[in-house]
């Protein structure tokens, strides 16, 4: 019989085993092709690669993905070959040389590989439009262009070259596995011990201490310190994780074993001993997967949180779809015409006078730098009703307030705890009245050009306006510019309208902002990060989960005789089901939980560095966690699906 025929027959006969292998190969090819095609896509090129920063980012991302794909393929290939140990040993028993077995496996890899290449590239072409659309849609606010369905010869060519070399490496690494097999394994394979996993209290304690220190450093409050310690934190946590799986978890297991009253229940006895027996061979894989899960969940959670907060952040800063002050009489007609021309309905429009006031007050000094001047500086000032009107029109989360007589609220974009303490209780002395600051608010949206804003009770405001403490005109008697705000339909989508508004406003008014502009700038920076986060997470999730699948299926082949024996002793099918659940669940659950725990602390660091500035709330970490939880659940869901696939396959094998 020729090797080719044998190879084809093997694939047909081992179809069940091959299908996951095939799936993972195809997915790797699909990933590589999609990425390469993306790099060649002209829309993507015009949108991103003009900037060297973005180009470097995409390239770096590409390298990470490729390295990971290679690591994944080689290691899944090794598991796959080990799972077929018996079959391979039989060939050897009948006198096939290692060279020939190697050739046979290489042929099989190549046949399956070519099929995977065709399917993977086919899927890649089929979805290329979608992938590019997702990228552009995530990162460009007003992307409406239609991407042509393209077949990219250069990407196909590169993918084929890359994968043929990877398959070559896979073949060689397979040969290495075969050479390690001893013929005697055929008879003894199941009896050979993997060795007791050496757990020790010391490594458990050290691993927990390493991780704990990492967590502690990551949750420090000062952003600069957190940035500074990020590399040590990574090293601590990674070392701690590996140590935990190598020495700590076996110790935890032996601790469980010492609790006889629960360990001596049949199910626990079987599943715990089988799991701890596997620890040595699967420990490193689980540690790697825990860390990759941490990276992936953090990437995806950061991306998602950033992305979800861009729009909110825009309105927290700008407040309205558009505002400007000054020049109303010159340009309002042009603005109405622009809206009409673009068939956009104005939802809200409001114009109000701006007032300032400069009461006498103490200097407030925090940390040796003065924050509030009392002489040359001024406050923007609103009556409670105007403020509430502005707030109700704004698209931020601000709530209307009630200000008592003789009290004031201090509003500024720059408020932190110490300043808040210093400002509250301050007296503002006007010509015939003193008013006390009783509360503060961190927001920038009603200031319209001022650094500090006060909100007063309506009556106080009226009286101070009468007495000349509040001024609507400058020193020369010229009234301050009025401010006009607009909210309108589809504010973040219409590029043409925004261009026209910008043209009308620029140079003709005191100042203006549009939500569209701010939103778009943020999206360009963050959108690409988000996309990379999503893409990378998807790859990591699917690959780590299928790696676990391979390891377990391989283990199932070796554990088959255990189940046969247990059934002879009298294990019924109910117990068997529960044993399988208890045997497999920790394999998926432990790395997932550790990965997510790592990620929760990584998000704390990310919150300190980035999000606390972005989300103007007391406890931005809660919000960040809420967004992260969505992604954690998605991650857990995929793992859950893989767990069930694995359980099904495992049960079928040990039947």
């Amino acid at each position: 019989m020729k090797l080719t025929t044998l190879a084809i027959r093997n694939i047909k006969r081992n179809f069940q085993k091959y299908i996951m292998h095939f799936f993972s190969l195809s997915f790797s090819v699909f990933t590589a092709y999609s990425f390469l095609a993306l790099m060649q896509n002209e829309y993507v090129i015009t949108a991103f690669t003009y900037s060297t920063r973005y180009r470097a980012m995409l390239k770096g991302f590409g390298i990470i993905i490729m390295v990971f794909v290679i690591f994944f393929l080689i290691s899944s290939n090794k598991s796959f070959i080990r799972a077929r140990k018996k079959e391979i040993s039989t060939y050897a028993l009948f006198g096939m040389t290692n060279r020939n077995i190697g050739k046979l496996l290489f042929l099989e890899t190549m046949i399956v590989g070519f099929a995977a290449l065709i399917i993977g590239i086919g899927l890649g072409i089929f979805f290329s439009k979608l992938v590019a659309m997702i990228l552009l849609d995530i990162s460009l606010a007003s992307f409406t262009g239609d991407i042509a369905f393209t077949i990219d010869p250069k990407a196909i060519y590169l993918t084929i070259i890359i994968f043929i070399s990877i398959f070559g490496v896979m073949g060689l690494s397979g040969l290495q596995v075969i050479n390690k097999f001893q013929l005697v394994d055929l008879f003894k394979a199941d009896k050979v011990s993997e060795g007791k996993s050496g757990g020790s209290k010391i490594s458990l304690i050290i691993s927990l201490m390493l991780i704990g220190t990492g967590y502690y450093l990551a949750s420090l409050d000062d952003p600069l310190t957190v940035v500074g310690v990020s590399i040590p934190v990574l090293i601590l946590v990674i070392l701690g994780t590996y140590l935990f799986f190598w020495g700590g978890l076996p110790e935890v297991l032996s601790f469980i074993k010492r609790n006889k009253s629960s360990y001596y229940r049949g199910i626990n006895l079987i599943s715990t001993s089988a799991f701890s027996h596997r620890m040595r061979s699967i420990g490193s894989t689980m540690a790697t997967i825990a860390i990759l899960s941490a990276v992936a969940t953090t990437a995806i959670a950061t991306g998602f949180t950033l992305y979800k907060n861009i729009e909110k952040n825009t309105y927290d800063i700008i407040g309205y779809d558009m505002y400007f002050y000054g020049g109303q009489e010159k340009i309002l007609d042009d603005i109405y015409r622009a809206f009409e021309k673009h068939h956009t309905k104005i939802i809200e429009e409001y114009t109000t006078q701006r007032y300032i006031t400069s009461p006498q007050m103490e200097k407030i000094v925090v940390d040796d730098s003065r924050y509030i001047y009392d002489e040359t500086d001024y406050f923007r000032v609103y009556s409670q009703s105007v403020y509430n009107k502005l707030v109700s029109l704004s698209k931020s989360d601000l709530k209307p307030v009630h200000i008592n007589s003789n009290e004031a609220m201090y509003v500024s974009p720059y408020i932190f705890e110490e300043l808040d303490e210093a400002v509250v209780g301050q007296l503002l002395t006007f010509s015939d009245q003193t008013i006390k600051i009783t509360s503060t608010l961190r927001s920038g949206i009603v200031s319209f050009g001022a650094l500090r804003t006060l909100v007063l009770n309506d009556n106080d405001f009226e009286r101070l306006l009468q007495s000349g403490d509040i001024l609507g005109v400058n020193k020369n008697g010229i009234p301050y510019d009025k401010v006009t705000i607009f909210n309108y339909e589809n504010p973040l989508k219409s590029r043409a309208l925004d261009n026209e508004l910008t043209r009308i406003l620029s140079g003709n008014v005191g100042s203006y902002r549009t939500a569209y502009n701010h939103y778009n700038e943020s999206l360009e920076t963050f959108g690409l990060i988000c996309f990379i986060g999503f893409f990378m997470s998807m790859v990591f999730i699917l690959m780590t989960a299928s790696l676990l699948y391979f390891k377990q299926v391989m283990a199932a082949e070796e554990e088959r005789h255990h189940y046969r024996m247990l059934r002879k002793i009298g294990m019924d099918s109910q117990v068997e089901k529960r044993v399988i659940v208890k045997r497999l669940l920790p394999v998926f659950l432990i790395p997932l939980l550790i990965g997510i725990t790592h990620s929760i602390f990584a998000m704390k660091a990310a919150d300190t560095i980035v999000f606390s500035n972005m989300i103007p709330l007391e406890n931005s970490y809660i919000i960040v966690l809420a967004f992260s939880a969505v992604m954690y659940s998605a991650y857990a869901l995929v793992y859950g699906i893989f767990y069930f696939i694995t359980k099904g396959q495992y049960s079928r094998i040990v039947k």
Binding site: K191, R265, I270, S273, A274, K568, I569, D572, S573
Partner: protein, 252 residues
């Protein structure tokens, strides 16, 4: 007292429509009484392993009744069979069949753990049995760390710990050297005497068979002959050899 009763059991491999029928057992009937040490002998392919599998309720007879504890075992469903095995039957296999993921101690208590016994009861039974069978010192070792004889002792403990109605031993000495084999046979005799355990042992080793009180010879799926041990062990041994040589099996 009768432990089990087999009535007209047949086992035919190959489906009803299959032309390739193979009859492994033909209308076998016998009884085993409490406290007996019965041997089943026969050449390869005589059907003795099929018989053992049916007695162990791992396999079902094609026709016939197999009664134990007043129940026809052949009519039980899968989970009832599992329950039946764990309560009534102890197995000793040729290749020990200990789980290499567990220590000897864990292997031995496994059936009790599966039955859900309390820790103190488990430990009590474990202590007594391992002391009697002389493996107390190696309880915390893994199967691959001890000799074949010791593994088979552990397997015997596992079979015995549930106090089953019958212990089925499938060529228990097959993988052991002659010294360990002899030790094990003496152990089985000890179990038979001290624990009043009923033992049914399948073997084609004449020496092993000579430890039994009664031997059933099987040829081509039928009971060919039965021998009872007398007072003279030498004589018993010789008569076994005589029967075996007629059977054309492994008699020497």
């Amino acid at each position: 007292m009768q432990i089990l009763k087999v009535e007209n059991i047949s086992k035919i491999y190959g489906g009803k429509k299959s032309t390739n029928k193979y009859v492994a057992l033909k209308n076998i009937s016998f009884e085993v009484d409490k406290g007996e040490f019965v041997g089943v002998m026969g050449a390869s392919g005589s059907g003795k392993t099929t018989l053992l599998n049916i007695l162990g309720s791992i396999d079902k007879p094609t026709t016939g009744r197999y009664i134990m504890d007043g129940k026809d075992i052949a009519t039980l469903n899968k989970d009832e069979l599992a329950k039946h095995r764990i309560n009534n039957i102890g197995f000793i296999f040729q290749d020990y069949n200990l789980l290499d993921t567990m220590t000897l101690k864990e292997n031995i208590i496994l059936p009790l753990a599966l039955k859900g016994h309390k820790v103190n009861i488990i430990e009590e039974k474990l202590f007594k049995i391992t002391k009697d069978l002389g493996i107390t010192k190696i309880l915390d070792k893994y199967p691959y760390e001890v000799s074949g004889g010791e593994q088979q002792r552990a397997a015997a403990c596992r079979a015995l710990i549930t106090s089953p109605r019958i212990i089925l031993a499938d060529e228990p000495t097959g993988n052991l050297d002659s010294k360990s084999g002899k030790d094990l046979l003496e152990l089985l005799t000890f179990i038979n005497k001290e624990y009043k355990a009923t033992i049914l042992m399948v073997t084609h080793d004449v020496f092993a068979a000579s430890y039994c009180q009664r031997i059933m010879f099987i040829r081509d799926g039928e009971i060919y002959n039965q021998l009872y041990a007398g007072d003279n062990k030498k004589q018993f041994f010789d008569s076994i050899i005589d029967v075996m040589s007629v059977l054309g099996g492994e008699g020497r």
